[in-house]
Symmetry: C2
Amino acid sequence: MRPIALLFLVVAACAPTAPPANTPAPTDVEHPRLEWGMVLHGGAGVTRASYSAAELPLMEAAFHAALRAGHAILAGGGSSLDAVEAAVRILEDDSLFNAGKGSVFTNDSINELDAAIMEGHTYRAGAVAGVHRVKNPITLARAVMERSKHVMMIGDGAERFAVEQRIEMVDPGYFHTGRRMRSLRKAIEDERRAANPNGTAVLPDPTWRFGTVGAVALDKQGRLAAATSTGGMTNKRYGRVGDVPIIGAGTYASPACAVSATGDGEYFIRWSIAHSICTRTDLAGQSLASAADSVIMGVLHRTGGTGGVISLDNRGHVAMPFNAEGMTRGYVGPDGQTWMRMFR
Amino acid sequence: MRPIALLFLVVAACAPTAPPANTPAPTDVEHPRLEWGMVLHGGAGVTRASYSAAELPLMEAAFHAALRAGHAILAGGGSSLDAVEAAVRILEDDSLFNAGKGSVFTNDSINELDAAIMEGHTYRAGAVAGVHRVKNPITLARAVMERSKHVMMIGDGAERFAVEQRIEMVDPGYFHTGRRMRSLRKAIEDERRAANPNGTAVLPDPTWRFGTVGAVALDKQGRLAAATSTGGMTNKRYGRVGDVPIIGAGTYASPACAVSATGDGEYFIRWSIAHSICTRTDLAGQSLASAADSVIMGVLHRTGGTGGVISLDNRGHVAMPFNAEGMTRGYVGPDGQTWMRMFR
């Protein structure tokens, strides 16, 4: 085979799948390159009805505060790992995000929390799933990464480890908010109606499906990290675990690329979305924007999934494609200006 | 840039990382291409001391029986999904493999079983982790894939789903074998000695660390499937979950590539080993042998991890690299001849 023909073949093999003609255009493609900084999300699936007029400014204030917390750590020469943990903890502590304090209820009226964290330059990772009494699951995920031989712990075992490691524990009642209990009651009612041919079928509010928070950061030393935390899916059953604590699905970081995802967890697992994006940059030499768009618009969207990612490469490029109505997202760079948007 | 220079760059970006000079050579590279067939493993980390003279022929007979069961299904025009499930069930039912009946004990003297299954041409997947009473976790993983909206369920919730789906349940005592209890006692004793400066430090027997079973198959319709099941790590704590139920880490299948892994689970998660191999064939156009070797010898081995994979592409190429002392492995093609090997 002549070199030029081989070139064509190899380039074709490495090229992103073209999105179908009527795909929503990727958004926010043109962001400034950040010499260092943090990108944050508060979940895809947010709609204009997700927050009341009273709640919206409170939610925005918490989001900007989380960006500023990450900025302060990075500006002081701190690690990207510290920055993403600190930012995610702030959103976990706010009842307006579906993570930590604001976690949604399962069908059994309990809260099952999942989280994962990964450090790009060492490929170290930690994840927890199905915990009920851990105030900040992201901090437990980091403890699994740094203080155990393991990557993933689940359920009661993960909580035993948390107690031994003196991670802050709370009574399960800490997670019981009126907002989330109303969501559960509505979801159960909608499900009952959908199952009853005489009732009115109502699709579940996507806000409850996709709530997740996450951060990716690049520090002054050029190190990347990614962190994701969620309270799961309203009305979920059977100890369902979504993509958040699955390294490679909802969370991934390599020396060159960091991704945190939010959306239909099952799709993110089946296509190893976060790892796919990093592989396209690391192995196939695609730009981060092209890799993230081709996976979200070309794979996730084409196969019927909904959601998005925030991503950052080690040269400070930012990509945040999503195909939902909204995705709460933002970033901060060396100048300390916090940028935030919820819709297109 | 001239095309030839671009060619060089793209090929370099897509090329596998070269393994270090003194890496053990990949084994079994030259296998016949299977028009259709199944590849099976019974775990990496097997040593010449793993089985007694009385146990060895029994283990080999079960392994060949599992290959024949897969062959019978495929020969009759059945699906690769049916074949991998049937083969894994046979090994799960045999106490000489660390999966199902022969699962090892956790530090708490219980058994926590994990399994995953994936169908390549649909990207459907199912996984369960931390179940105690399910006779065949691989069948529960398949039920999660086929009869729920979810991909992964854990713990008690997964068992509630199993009961509802009429999956065969057993008393936890079903998994209590003398062989595995002796392993646990030895591991705890070894750990005690290792922690005691006056005792004799003994490294854990790798047999207990890596036991896993798995299968990949290609059917007459050209469809791939992968399945993996494990009883976990002897003496494990804290609800640790390894790579087996992590789609992309221990188990993955695409339309063109299927992988089942066995080894140091934490390494397989951090590098998304199974997905990495499929991505190198699907996206970067590497041959399966080159992709599997570059990930196992170039990534896993170089970073200090131990284990291996079985893999199969949709043209029937087989690759089974591993860097442990042994990996119980074998395959069967249209001629029905079963090939099995444990060491190099």
